[in-house]
């Protein structure tokens, strides 16, 4: 019984941290990829970052 409550508890913790990392990681990769793709379509003088 004790073992089941412990693993149960950690499942909620794991889903939270795992999903957070996955969603943010996935979003970041998407943004970076889109940035690289678009960079090729825009002349260099219009994408000079600080």
């Amino acid at each position: 019984m004790l073992a089941s409550t412990i693993s149960n508890e950690w499942a909620y913790v794991g889903i939270t941290w795992g999903a957070t990392a996955a969603v943010i990681g996935g979003y970041a990769v998407m943004v970076l990829r889109r940035g690289r793709r678009l960079s090729r379509q825009v002349p260099e003088d219009q994408r000079r970052w600080m």
């Binding site: 969603v23 979003y27 970041a28 943004v31 940035g35 960079s39 379509q41 219009q46 994408r47």
Partner: protein
């Protein structure tokens, strides 16, 4: 936590064809260091809670994500206001970036809250609860904001619409924040109110604060990249439009022989 994207950033450090710069690389490194500290404090240095057990570790994600989500939404409202006043591309694109990242973080907050609610309250979601319902409404408003930004429309119309939605949505933040005090809720009230009066101490408190910094650096890093992507998208679109117009002009001028009239 965000290992992959940051690793990707440093990979293209030399390549000019990306949205990375010295500033984003520094912010990325800060995010990584801060995330490491947060993870260590959330899982290693802080003990389980007296009542909650290990599920307290969910709050080290839940509380910082919601705080930074509010911060992004407030920034969105400020930039939306500046846009309506000054009509600059900068304010429009900053509003767009902060709005999108705000709704992303709020979505994660809701998920973390559900994961905490099941083992604590005994339910994932409680319809009719003021805090939960108002937060869902806030989430939907910003989802609407992001949707409107992605509907094809003339740029000035798109910008104006989304700026108005952004400002209206931000008005909801305060009622959401106060809902536990105004209407009573299953949700607990504020833990961190004034320094010294916190209802959390030691390593648990440190994990929370460390989480704030992590998500702040992360949000700043994401906002800058997202801003640049928005800028590039608008430039690419303008470039395409210009070339199409030029093409059509050349064509019709040639066909009708009227090119010299004007």
């Amino acid at each position: 936590m965000p290992n992959t994207p940051l690793a990707a950033t440093t990979d293209v450090a030399v390549a000019p064809v990306s949205t990375s710069s010295r500033g984003t690389r520094i912010l990325g490194a800060l995010t990584l260091v801060s995330a490491t500290v947060t993870i260590l404090y959330s899982f290693w240095f802080s003990k389980a809670d007296v009542e909650l057990g290990n599920t307290v570790r969910i709050l080290y994600v839940h509380v910082p994500t919601v705080s930074i989500a509010y911060l992004c939404m407030l920034a969105n409202a400020v930039f939306s206001g500046i846009y309506l006043w000054k009509r600059t591309a900068f304010s429009d694109l900053m509003a767009s970036a902060t709005g999108e990242i705000g709704v992303l973080l709020l979505g994660l907050t809701i998920l973390a809250g559900m994961m905490w609610g099941r083992p604590t309250w005994g339910t994932y979601w409680e319809w009719g609860d003021p805090r939960l319902t108002s937060t869902l409404l806030l989430f939907l408003m910003y989802l609407g904001y992001v949707t409107v930004r992605n509907i094809p429309a003339p740029r000035s119309a798109r910008n104006t619409r989304s700026a108005i939605i952004g400002i209206v949505s931000a008005l909801l933040i305060y009622p959401v924040r106060m809902s536990t005090e105004w209407w009573g809720s299953l949700h607990q009230g504020r833990t961190i109110s004034a320094p010294g009066a916190s209802k959390i101490q030691g390593a648990q408190e440190f994990a929370l604060y460390s989480g704030f910094f992590t998500f702040m650096f992360l949000a700043a890093w994401l906002v800058i990249h997202r801003f640049r992507v928005g800028w590039l998208a608008d430039q690419a679109e303008a470039g395409q439009l210009e070339s199409v117009i030029a093409e059509r002009r050349a064509e019709s001028a040639g066909d009708l022989g009227l090119g010299k009239v004007h």
